[in-house]
């Protein structure tokens, strides 16, 4: 392939420019004051570059509230998903039951459904579950974090169980057999032997799930009605209406939203890519 190297590089450079242009344009727009872009147009090189749009978007756009709401939903949802998926995966991969395969198939299938298929029944179910007003201002499961967390957990459980059970299957059976001989019960085998060995898979899945759930748009859109309870990804959509044609502020708001993902990605890049490909590649 040596002869085509220049062609390859040319293609990759052109593609890279196309990939980066929207991001750089957003960043550039976000750094320029509205007065400058009004005067010279967005397509211009006139300075100055400031962070003013960021502070304005932060204080006017309810971004701090949205961020907190994202933490309230994402953290419990990821922890619950991983805990439940590990238990399920342990039980189906280390022990042989009659319905193991059926359950695993149903779990995996559930994860692949378009969420909109479940929207009406879930919405109505939650609407008809009464909750005391001390727990929910709507008097039902609607407009609560519980609703979002529960459905996110249910939806991610299938994929995580599938990946973790494949991972646990590769751990030698002798490990738990030796523990069994030593009189260790099921829970002890799970906590002391299998879970520590599954840590790489959990780290990868955890990173992946944090980013996916942080980025989730649909479930909060469906269940949350109060604007001040929206998580950031659903909330940031309202910036477009709030800042109207002020593209500088919208760009700044969008950039702020990416920062946590970027931090997670840069800090845990290896885990994230591993999580994406964990199930898809062998081993």
């Amino acid at each position: 392939m040596r002869r085509s190297r220049y062609g390859t590089h040319l293609f990759l450079v052109v593609m890279s420019v196309m990939w980066l242009a929207p991001l750089l344009w957003t960043l550039y727009t976000s750094l320029r004051p509205k007065q400058t872009t009004d005067k010279y147009g967005y397509w211009s090189l006139h300075g100055p570059l400031t962070l003013d749009n960021f502070t304005t978007a932060w204080s006017q756009g309810r971004l701090p509230t949205y961020f907190l709401n994202s933490i309230y939903t994402t953290v419990p949802a990821v922890l619950l998903t991983l805990a439940l998926a590990s238990m399920m995966a342990f039980a189906v991969s280390r022990y042989t039951w009659k319905f193991n395969l059926t359950l695993l198939i149903l779990f995996t299938a559930g994860n692949m459904l378009p969420p909109q298929v479940l929207a009406a029944p879930l919405f109505q179910m939650f609407k008809h579950v009464p909750l005391p007003y001390s727990l929910s201002t709507s008097g039902s499961l609607l407009d609560t974090y519980y609703a979002v967390i529960a459905v996110e957990v249910a939806f991610q459980l299938g994929f995580c169980t599938f990946v973790l059970s494949n991972y646990m299957k590769t751990l030698p059976a002798e490990l738990t057999e030796a523990a069994l001989v030593d009189g260790a019960g099921v829970w002890r085998q799970f906590r002391r032997i299998i879970m520590p060995l599954t840590r790489p898979a959990l780290a990868a899945l955890g990173t992946l799930q944090v980013i996916w759930l942080y980025n989730d748009f649909f479930w909060p859109l469906l269940f949350i009605q109060s604007g001040d309870r929206l998580p950031i990804t659903t909330g940031v959509n309202s910036l477009q209406g709030q800042f109207l044609q002020d593209y500088n502020l919208i760009a700044a708001g969008a950039t702020i939203t990416v920062i946590p993902t970027l931090i997670v990605y840069l800090a845990l890049q290896r885990h994230f890519v591993a999580g994406l490909t964990l199930g898809a590649s062998k081993g």
Partner: protein, 318 residues
């Protein structure tokens, strides 16, 4: 909506007698152990049943009824009326079907192949391959909402990057890429492909890296050129990943929702089945029966790739 993830099964470990050896063990468990295992399986299964399987069945049930979403006693049987209405009388239905088909063809014909090409190119010993990979991967981290916002800044009529590059910004011939119903589907697809291709690239690249290098060496010794090696050796050996990539592409096309909703709530050229479902469920014209009928149609179509994938994946695992 989160990303579609369709993992391929990990190859059974080389020491596969292990699972069989375990098969009798359940009977040897103590009462406490059985209880622990029962809870470990029971709780996740209950969650799946209550929040996924039962709602799916309820969706099917509701599609044959007329209901205003208030008291449960108001549910009336409607036979096939909702389906008939959706297919024959509901104006956005056929445009939405058509848009989903275009979405699928575009992803399968352009975005996914582009991801595969990038993976194949970056799998070579090429300079800056890490840098290229990071660049193409960046959009995968963004939510589709952000993808919509970022591309809105590119597509805006007078302020956007694209029209400024084309030199039409500020002139009457400037195209409003997300607003014009003749082009906004394609504009949305380009934005979607920007993210989708990077995702496919990562998956495919991982598969290529995991490929046994001796395959290529053997092909080279047999005198195969690069093209022959790629098409006759590498692609067939990647069958597992190919299936995953095809399934993800199909399902992503059926699940398409976020970006169209962010642009204009899926109206005016961006109608999609998933969005019609939601438009019938919330908002003033709440027609749960019709929304459910649309949901069931979406479900039936989605089951084709899902079932095909499950059969392939679990057949050998049995």
């Amino acid at each position: 909506m989160t990303q579609t993830t369709a993992p391929a099964p990990v190859a059974a470990p080389a020491a596969s007698p292990a699972p069989r050896a375990r098969s009798g063990r359940v009977r040897r468990l103590t009462g406490t152990d059985r209880l622990v295992l029962g809870v470990m399986i029971g709780v996740p299964t209950l969650i799946q049943a209550v929040l996924i399987w039962i709602p799916t069945l309820l969706s099917i049930g509701l599609s044959f009824t007329r209901w205003n979403g208030l008291a449960l006693s108001d549910i009336h049987s409607a036979g096939l009326a909702n389906y008939r209405f959706a297919v024959d009388e509901y104006p956005p239905f056929w445009p939405a079907v058509w848009h989903n088909v275009i979405w699928l063809v575009f992803l399968a014909g352009i975005a996914t192949p582009l991801g595969v090409v990038l993976a194949v190119l970056l799998d070579q010993k090429i300079r800056f391959t890490r840098l290229y990979q990071s660049i193409f991967f960046t959009p995968v981290m963004l939510s589709l909402v952000l993808v919509g916002i970022v591309w809105q800044l590119v597509y805006a009529r007078d302020e956007g990057l694209l029209n400024n590059l084309l030199g039409t910004a500020g002139t009457p011939s400037a195209v409003d890429w997300f607003g014009d119903p003749h082009v906004n589907l394609w504009a949305a697809l380009v934005a979607t492909a920007w993210r989708h291709a990077g995702y496919i690239m990562v998956l495919y690249l991982a598969g290529l890296k995991g490929l046994d290098p001796s395959l290529r060496e053997a092909a080279a010794i047999d005198g195969a050129n690069d093209r022959q090696t790629l098409f006759k050796v590498v692609f067939p050996a990647m069958r597992q990943i190919n299936v995953v990539v095809v399934v993800i592409t199909l399902i992503e096309a059926l699940r398409a929702f976020d970006i169209a909703y962010v642009i204009n709530r899926g109206t005016n050229g961006l109608e999609l089945l998933s969005i019609l479902v939601i438009q019938n469920l919330v908002g003033e014209g709440q027609v749960i029966g019709v929304g459910s009928a649309l949901a069931v149609l979406l479900l039936v179509v989605s089951l084709v790739p899902i079932v095909a994938y499950l059969i392939r994946t679990f057949r050998r695992a049995d």
